[in-house]
Symmetry: C2
Subunit: 153 residues, 2 copies
């Protein structure tokens, strides 16, 4: 057993887990985001993917980004909206979201409770790209996406 | 986008998901198990791991087995008990269980509701080993494990 092997059993405590550190969402100062925390639940060196839990406070949002790696998401608590590509979808507890490669995406907690979700991702992954001002302006031309981005949907 | 790319959004319907087939737990006729279903939520060819949802009806149990690949489990509904190695643990919703390589394990739905859990696993994995009669007899010598295996705990 190596030092990276987690304990066999870690108890849940209201969307926190024994031995799991609640971390800031990301260190990338370029990205715009609000009220998001991150917990790495499994980073098993014997598996190709990791499982993280993100929680967004009401009114908060993840960064709008894209990258070559994929995200496989299961909503664990609350509800909200997400943008994937040019699709805005309402998401509720236990829904599944698959973010394909090089596809813009953002999650927003649009309800009165936190939006919490599991995200499975490759352990080895590329750095996210952020939209240019021109790309953002292009998004704003779609009224449904503009409402999503402005939180006024 | 290949044919294996799932839809961006699949809605949850009471622990069933749009477009996800409810499958028998396993095809291996050697294994002893009871009242278990399997749903593959994500089998993303761009990721090294898959995410499956297993549901065990009250009184049911998964097969007692071990293998080189690891399991990373999050309890999604209900509660029960699990054996990992020689440890019997009570597990409740959102608890995490990490099954190390070549470690005997079994999950049992010991409550009145189904026990449902997510299991992250390598896409490429070895075939489970089942205990020999001698190994089972050895387990039965530990009263706590015997109670677990006999469902009388």
């Amino acid at each position: 057993m190596t030092s990276t092997q987690p304990p066999v059993h870690r108890k849940a405590k209201g969307y926190r887990w024994e031995g799991v550190v609640v971390q800031p969402y990301k260190e990338d100062a370029r990205a715009l985001f609000k009220a998001v925390t991150r917990q790495v639940l499994f980073a098993d060196p014997q598996q190709g993917s990791e499982l993280r839990y993100f929680e967004i406070a009401p009114g908060g949002f993840s960064s709008l980004e894209r990258h070559a790696h994929t995200h496989n998401v299961l909503i664990l608590r609350g509800h909200g909206h997400c943008l994937v590509g040019r699709e805005v979808r309402e998401i509720v507890t236990h829904d599944l979201i698959a973010v394909p490669p090089i596809t813009w995406h953002q999650f927003r907690a649009t309800g009165k409770e936190p939006l919490g979700f599991l995200c499975m991702v490759n352990a080895a992954r590329d750095k996210p790209q952020l939209p240019t001002p021109e790309e953002l302006a292009e998004f704003e031309q779609d009224p449904r996406i503009a409402d999503f981005l402005n939180g006024t949907r």
